[in-house]
Subunit: 228 residues, 4 copies
Amino acid sequence: MSTAQSEKRSQSQRREATRGAILQACKEIMAEEDFINSKTGTIAKRAGVAEGTVFLHFENKQGLLRALVDDFFVTMHCNISEIHQAHSCPKERLKAMAQDYIEQLEAQWPLARLVVSSHARYGDELTQQSLRCHNRRYTQFFLDALDEIKQQEVDCDIPSQVFRDALFGGIEHFAIANFNTGKSHDSQQFLDQLWQLLFQGILSRESSAIKKNSIEHKLDKIIKKLDA
Amino acid sequence: MSTAQSEKRSQSQRREATRGAILQACKEIMAEEDFINSKTGTIAKRAGVAEGTVFLHFENKQGLLRALVDDFFVTMHCNISEIHQAHSCPKERLKAMAQDYIEQLEAQWPLARLVVSSHARYGDELTQQSLRCHNRRYTQFFLDALDEIKQQEVDCDIPSQVFRDALFGGIEHFAIANFNTGKSHDSQQFLDQLWQLLFQGILSRESSAIKKNSIEHKLDKIIKKLDA
Amino acid sequence: MSTAQSEKRSQSQRREATRGAILQACKEIMAEEDFINSKTGTIAKRAGVAEGTVFLHFENKQGLLRALVDDFFVTMHCNISEIHQAHSCPKERLKAMAQDYIEQLEAQWPLARLVVSSHARYGDELTQQSLRCHNRRYTQFFLDALDEIKQQEVDCDIPSQVFRDALFGGIEHFAIANFNTGKSHDSQQFLDQLWQLLFQGILSRESSAIKKNSIEHKLDKIIKKLDA
Amino acid sequence: MSTAQSEKRSQSQRREATRGAILQACKEIMAEEDFINSKTGTIAKRAGVAEGTVFLHFENKQGLLRALVDDFFVTMHCNISEIHQAHSCPKERLKAMAQDYIEQLEAQWPLARLVVSSHARYGDELTQQSLRCHNRRYTQFFLDALDEIKQQEVDCDIPSQVFRDALFGGIEHFAIANFNTGKSHDSQQFLDQLWQLLFQGILSRESSAIKKNSIEHKLDKIIKKLDA
DNA sequence: AATGAATGAGCATTCATTCAT
DNA sequence: CATGAATGAATGCTCATTCAT
């Protein structure tokens, strides 16, 4: 390998390292302050680079935000694609995707918060658009799974959108209430309970099953008597 | 009425009118820009007053935000109290409260958006605190109704918090997706469907369909036997 | 007395009372904040009048300051005139005037501070001019007394201005160091010591008197011996 | 010298130059207006930099004031330390220090005015504290010299504080009266006269004149007798 | 005469962005 | 590529002053 090439590589590696340091610093700062309240100066200092360097790697502050969001969705899409391929059963797949969603939300909350409150107008039109686009692509995996489920099941007259709102809304409401503060919480348990709620309703299936069983029991009695 | 008194009244009326104009202007501006991106100068201009006047009526920009939030919750609490007294059946009450919530959200969306994204750090500590307090009081009405429902029903093992997250989260997710843009939507229908989802579960149809089939099968049997 | 007249009097009395209340409030506020840092709003509130009323009695904030300074000098001039007439001995008169000066400074310090730091440009040109004029008139009494003293005494080649600087400067330096804070101090004692310093110098007269006496004593001895 | 180093040096040199330009501009502006009445915008314009640059070099307007005061005292302390070491005789030392004080006051009057009117509440608590601290350190040199003098002389019953008040007060009173305006004056002469006043008292001439007369009278007697 | 709501010019300070080195 | 000093438009807020009532 020629020196020129190795230099090039090491230079582009260094460049990438700097870029990464800035992104990382930005995430850290955002865990403490909001994106709007975070200053490019603070981010640069935390990243150990000069203030001007930030603008060498990102067009402007919004570009930094966009890169952050893109990075976030790279992980998200990567995960969800894997899950998509791993599960043929749509119901299991849906659960696994939801599970990954809540886990990623927790793991990257400072950043994820931005995505969750996408309606708050942090970014310029370009950033918002990019965010919406990512969101739609990501959500589509869920809607697809739902449609598959509905095709298998009969008589499900609840639109996928409503389910989606309840699922994502529920998870995000939980996230906001618990991840912001250091409050102790059990995300896994929450998801299981939310699942039960969304799939069986607030009134546990058992009770209506019991009632139905007793009806069947009586019917069986009648049949027997009629047989007799 | 003496002149002094009438003067006092008319002056305080004018004062109140100015205050109202500023609040109204702020709401309008916020429908176009975010709170953070709205400038006191713009608000004043829209309200038709001098910039200094804003600070005559509100301690600072945050105070304006706080007043806006307080105003919002005055309506919300007023409504929910009425509903609370009008419905003895907790299930009906809960539905009515949810209905009012989604209606108010739509009617005052620019302002409501602030409340919904309470986790975004718009405000100073004081504002956030006030918001959290209002939120808790408001949500309590829902949790109370839920608890009453759960006492009446048997075997409900889903915690109220989970239901609350799914209910508020679902509604807010719907609101964010639809109220922000001028997209056409039917909030009433959405709520009915969400209700069905939360109370019966997405798959309720299926399991009861299966059961129905077996019951119908048995009834058919009986009819046949009676025919015989 | 006609009703119209009594009304007029009572009205002008009320007017004067309001004016006085504002001046008094201003003095009080200035004891806490500086003149520049005192706000017309605060002064009005303390005086128990509306903010606009201040400008009914004084052309502007500077006018208020000027009135305050004028009031201060009315007292000062009044006192010094009395003292001037009461003492025919210029030395006693000077001491009495200095005594009154330090007493008034202490009694009205918040206000007097303004006069003392007349070089700080608090006021507009008009106010400064008025202040300088008052100061000159007041100081003149001291210079006159000094000149009288110097005419009586022989061989005093220190200009009155220098004495004036040391006297006023000394007193004011003491005032600044002690009246600003609540530090305990004895103004009377200070003045006596300053007097001694200014009239006899730092090296007490006694000691040089003793030395001179010893010289005279030796001279006397020589005379005796010569006589013998 | 490597390029990096020379760059660093030249950059930090430029930085220092900018800082100096701002300080200089501030001094100049203060010669025309008071500190309070001087605007950061005006200072920046005079310094030939952008307004924001001022805040790059100083925390805020108060910080600029503090830097100015610190700079002033650096010179003052430097001078007084030299003088302290140069004179073993406390009386000569005291005179030299006073001489330097009045010279510096005149040379840097616009700035010195701030220090002299330290009781006027220009600055925030931090600035005032720093000023008081500098003042105390500076004055201590004078008090020390005074104490030495008093140990050498007998019967000096005037407290050092009183002398200090008269000395500094006198000088400052003179400065205020003469340096503010372009009035012609002779600081050296003033100081000599003040010295005479403080060390011998205004009436020294008189009492010693009387004594001198009696001594002369006696000497005349002796001469006559010797003649006889 | 008194009120107090309204004014608006003015100010210190911030911070994303640029550019000479 | 990287630096960091410099920029300057933009903003929230102040407060002496005015004026309709």
